[in-house]
Subunit: 249 residues, 2 copies
Amino acid sequence: MRTIDAFCHFFPPDFFRLMSETAGGTRDVGKRMQGVRTIFDLDARFRVMDQFEDYTEILSLGLPPVEAMVGPDRTPEFAAVANDGLAELVSEHPDRFAGWVGALPMNAPDAAAREAERILINGTANGLQLHTNVNGACLDEPRFLPIFEIAAKSGKPILLHPARGPDMPDFAAEKRSRYEIWTIFGWPYETSATMARLVFSGVMTRFPELKVLTHHLGAMIPFFDARIDTGWATLGSRTSDEDYSAVSA
Amino acid sequence: MRTIDAFCHFFPPDFFRLMSETAGGTRDVGKRMQGVRTIFDLDARFRVMDQFEDYTEILSLGLPPVEAMVGPDRTPEFAAVANDGLAELVSEHPDRFAGWVGALPMNAPDAAAREAERILINGTANGLQLHTNVNGACLDEPRFLPIFEIAAKSGKPILLHPARGPDMPDFAAEKRSRYEIWTIFGWPYETSATMARLVFSGVMTRFPELKVLTHHLGAMIPFFDARIDTGWATLGSRTSDEDYSAVSA
């Protein structure tokens, strides 16, 4: 049986050098990545892959997103270096890597749309990797619409990666999440919240052909399907966040 | 078959009058409650119950928690009125109500511990209803320890009710949760976060006999059991929220 591992993170060498010079790429989750040899060392990665027969990977960057590393003046360069590096790895090692999904400079939405067009429409990318927040912002903000438009037009999927960090508290009286709750529960939570936002904000209606693949078996969605059905049926899908108290539930 | 519905909210008349005079009891989720007749009108409740054979309920207050209605100077009175009202309903209608779980003035922890002792040890309460946050604070704060101690000593369970509101944003760049995400996904999330906090903060170790019943089939816990196992096994259960970046995951 041939196995294609569809969500495998790797930092191409040129990109790993760039990210390692930034604060965002070396602290918090970036610091964790620096400690995972197989995510930036190709020989180490091959040694792990050798343990599995007929096994190939689709490559994507690991965390953090490029916009957590540098400002909008530099993310277009970072994303291009990453994407060219991923494309090169796939082209040079077709027996190892079955494809790649690209990164975008999301804090520079116009440049992100151009990069999406370059890699999805005119390039070899098999999809995009977007994260569940852009430096704290939700993906349903209008500035991101051109990106979804290109993704929909390309017919290629968006792979949605959770991105919540420990600086997002679980309780209003606190400043940080504790005991890794931000990732163990917070990642599936934020994935689910983002999916709901893409639906209720109208992004999915606007681009019905848009394909979004989520981590973690769809996160909370399949497990809370009855709660979703009865909850939103009872409460309605208000587009404003102000008028919720008008409901008699 | 006899059915005992274990998590049924009702506001006893004297308490409903008190809560209806407060801002917290009449806005947000309090406003929703004001629109649900069967939660404060005993005859309306009986008419619904009449549709089911051999059916009884264990009563508890609905949202919001008393500490979201009034300050610590008045919550002890509010909780006592509620608890005496619940006890009276059960005592007067044993064919309808199989028991009750009490409310505590959590913003006045010393008074809350005394009320817990009054209703659990010296009274007829079958348990306590606590909420997953106390005006934004997590239940693992040391000021709440005496309450857990009395609950553990009583042998009676704590029924843990979600309490997150729309003012808890899902994304760092926002001020409020949108489209009801705060309850549809946020309630199971906050229940899961609270359970994890009670474990990792040491509350469950300190009181091994403590019984906690959670809403929603255990919220995210049973559905994400493999993520919990491998996640916390890999990342460890740090007691500090500062040193998480030392991990190489």
